[in-house]
Symmetry: C2
Subunit: 460 residues, 2 copies
């Protein structure tokens, strides 16, 4: 979380290099997020030249808003004393994040220059596994003892406020830092000044554990409309908080990952963004699934090879092969999408598998009827000039193709719903069954349905 939410977004995003005075002025006038955005256009060294001479509090905020990669590059160019000063001013969660990204030699250089308490804090926060609540929490929160009076509690918050990310929620802890409850600043403002914190605190405090998934923590913040969520360790002791703004960032990041995974892209651009990610990284993220799907796609080739005789006998079947395959892919992707999204929004759980399949079956029967009838009409209309082998009629063939299409729509829809539900049941990410993979799989079922229907009904 960054403090000081003031100031207007800067309108000038492009910055002429060299004009450090003007840039410094811009940094002092703009919101730190806007200043950071403007500075991103510069080289790491030039950014430091602008930041070096401005007020340390503001400097740290602007720095915390820079893209992580730029932060790492900048730190690499700094003398050790400057590096240490910058790190020691940062909010603990952002500092731990940066520290995780620093190359070994920078870490070794900067650690001895920091105060013991800061070293300890970094060590503690970087210890949690990536993606857990512990790894994203901050240690800048306000605690109160239950026996303080409201007046004394407010006084204490006044003292610590400049150093804390939020004083709007304070956590009430005992001597072992075990979480007893929480009070909001609003509660304190409204309460009688001689009441104790214990009198007014909410005892049923919602919390998460350091080992919980960061996404689950973010969803709790979303569900209960919290400003901050306290994080406790295995002993129930308070060790950090996750704030509302971090929750938005976690949820956004989760969306990006879901969408990429669902479209068969591995890895993540992290916070680097599309343009800063190298061509080679982009290739790495995409090539894996493509190669895998290409191999799986060979199965389609083998099936067509098996039915070569059927195809050469009734060549009209080849013309509508792509239509059946594509429609299956489309309907399967649609049902997979709604199921993946419903799972992500916690609208359904893996236990709802039968209810979901029943619903999708009903939906797919409607779709199959509509698409089957349209396919029949299209074939009758478009294929009048196509050569029909003796013994068959266009009407028969059209019926067979549209019947196969309808069966394929139902099959693909059910597979599309079943795969993400199965993944969720196996505790995998539902989006792991990427839509292109699904398309390739239902291509195979589609071809089998197509050719077996033709063989069975037309006898070819």
């Amino acid at each position: 979380m960054k403090r000081q939410p003031a100031a207007r977004p800067s309108t000038s995003q492009e910055v002429a290099p060299g004009s450090n005075g003007a840039l410094r002025h811009l940094c002092e006038k703009s919101h730190p997020a806007a200043a950071a955005e403007a500075l991103s256009a510069l080289e790491p060294k030039a950014v430091w030249e602008v930041l070096r001479d401005i007020d340390p509090v503001l400097r740290t905020e602007i720095f915390s808003h820079l893209e992580p990669n730029l932060q790492v590059d900048m730190v690499g160019t700094l003398p050790r004393a400057d590096m240490a000063r910058l790190l020691s001013d940062m909010p603990p969660d952002d500092r731990a994040d940066l520290f995780r990204r620093l190359p070994e030699e920078s870490r070794d250089a900067v650690l001895p220059a920091l105060a013991e308490a800061e070293r300890e804090d970094i060590r503690r926060l970087t210890n949690y596994e990536d993606g857990t609540a512990g790894a994203v929490m901050t240690s800048d929160y306000a605690t109160l003892s239950p026996d303080l009076t409201v007046a004394a509690a407010i006084e204490r918050l006044r003292e610590v406020a400049p150093d804390k990310e939020t004083i709007y929620y304070s956590y009430v802890v005992d001597n072992d830092r075990r979480l007893l409850g929480f009070v909001s600043l609003k509660d304190l403002i409204l309460a009688r000044r001689d009441a104790t914190v214990r009198d007014i605190m909410h005892e049923d405090v919602i919390s998460a554990k350091t080992s919980d998934d960061q996404e689950d923590a973010a969803h709790i913040i979303q569900k209960y409309d919290l400003i901050a969520l306290p994080i406790v360790n295995d002993d129930g002791a308070l060790v950090g908080i996750i704030t509302h703004d971090d929750a938005i960032d976690i949820i956004t990041q989760e969306h990006t990952e879901d969408m990429r995974r669902f479209m068969a892209i591995t890895g993540s651009t992290g916070t680097d963004g599309y343009l800063r990610t190298s061509v080679w990284k982009h290739v790495q993220h995409r090539v894996g699934w493509l190669v895998g799907l290409g191999a799986l796609g060979l199965v389609s080739g083998i099936i067509i090879h098996e039915f070569e005789a059927t195809l050469t006998q009734v060549i009209i079947l080849a013309l509508y092969m792509p239509m059946v395959a594509d429609t299956g892919g489309n309907t399967g992707s649609q049902s997979a999408t709604v199921v993946v999204r419903a799972l992500a929004l916690r609208e359904i759980s893996p236990r709802d598998v039968w209810r979901v399949l029943l619903k999708e079956l009903q939906v797919s029967v409607f779709l199959a009827a509509v698409l089957g009838i349209l396919a029949w009409a299209k074939i009758m209309w478009l294929s009048q000039g196509v050569e029909i082998p003796p013994g068959f009629s266009l009407g028969n063939i059209a019926l067979v193709i549209s019947l196969a299409l309808s069966m394929q729509v139902v099959t693909a829809t059910l597979i599309g719903a079943l795969l993400p539900l199965t993944a969720a049941r196996l505790k995998l990410d539902p989006a792991v069954v990427a839509s292109p993979a699904l398309t390739t799989i239902v291509d195979i079922t589609g071809l089998l349905i197509y050719f077996f229907t033709a063989r069975w009904l037309l006898g070819v």
Copy 2:
């Protein structure tokens, strides 16, 4: 925004009907969001029987957390007086939302039973167009006059706190309600008690307009880590705020829409969720694109028809047709996904079209090389037994197919990147060029590339 963030999530989600006493107890013990979740299992009438007798403040909060459809159904079963009491207790933004959903007759029944000020408030809030900042803002915010002392300001916030969604930010307005600045409660707590609000307020306040897109407002809250964003009308007068928890909900809803749209699903399940949405609605949301894509897919059929002679001459071409088509669809969908997501995250803008195309061109050349070589190897290995017409060699044919595949990868990747960028440039949602549509389009380019390459290089 719902007030009172206390209490532990309820663990019992299934509720036995009939046990109203137990249910009431559960409602009083749980967080309102958890209580609402538990009650959702009941019929609308039964929900009211539980809620009727509990404390009005808590009742309103639980009610505000219920799914919108259940709210509407419940209101329909209530006598007018109960309906009016419930509505008048609700936070203004939630009340306006509910009112928008009520059928005409319920609106007409309830309006006369409300106080004049509430009627006016509803009329004002429901006037804003759906999807704008005006339509999601709340009118429960605290304002301060600039000439108040800090002590008087805190006193005033104490008085109004119980009725306001947040008192952590207060907005400083002049006599025409024009926004002069804002102060946080933290600022007030830290300031000298005899300073004036004008002395300590932040003048560069970030705001949005009522007519702004709700998603833009949410992104401002995310970018600047705000607890609330003030919303002004065309005259610059403060008319509402959007709070951090609404921003999370807007961003989540936006992502669901993006993902659905991108996978060729129209409409939205709104807040009803997957299971509550009827089969018929699901069909409606999916059938449109399917029919459209089916029609577009006929173009593939026509192309294959045109090249029937080529196919029957070199039947091996038919075997690898699906591989070329699928790979094109997959690579195109991947590039479309990263571009759509980068646009949504504001990492790139439509003006970056050349930089994006250059990057995708580089990526696609790598991918084309890898996939082309693999395709060549697969054909050489798998198709040794396939009949080759006289005058051709398997080596030649494999070379032609893998060359066509490579060209298709480059073309599909560029089309996948270009379409969403073009949509964004035309001020359309980039996700409007759904991935299935893209797949169908690049199927067509793929077949053309495939057959023209074969005709040109093999002379068939």
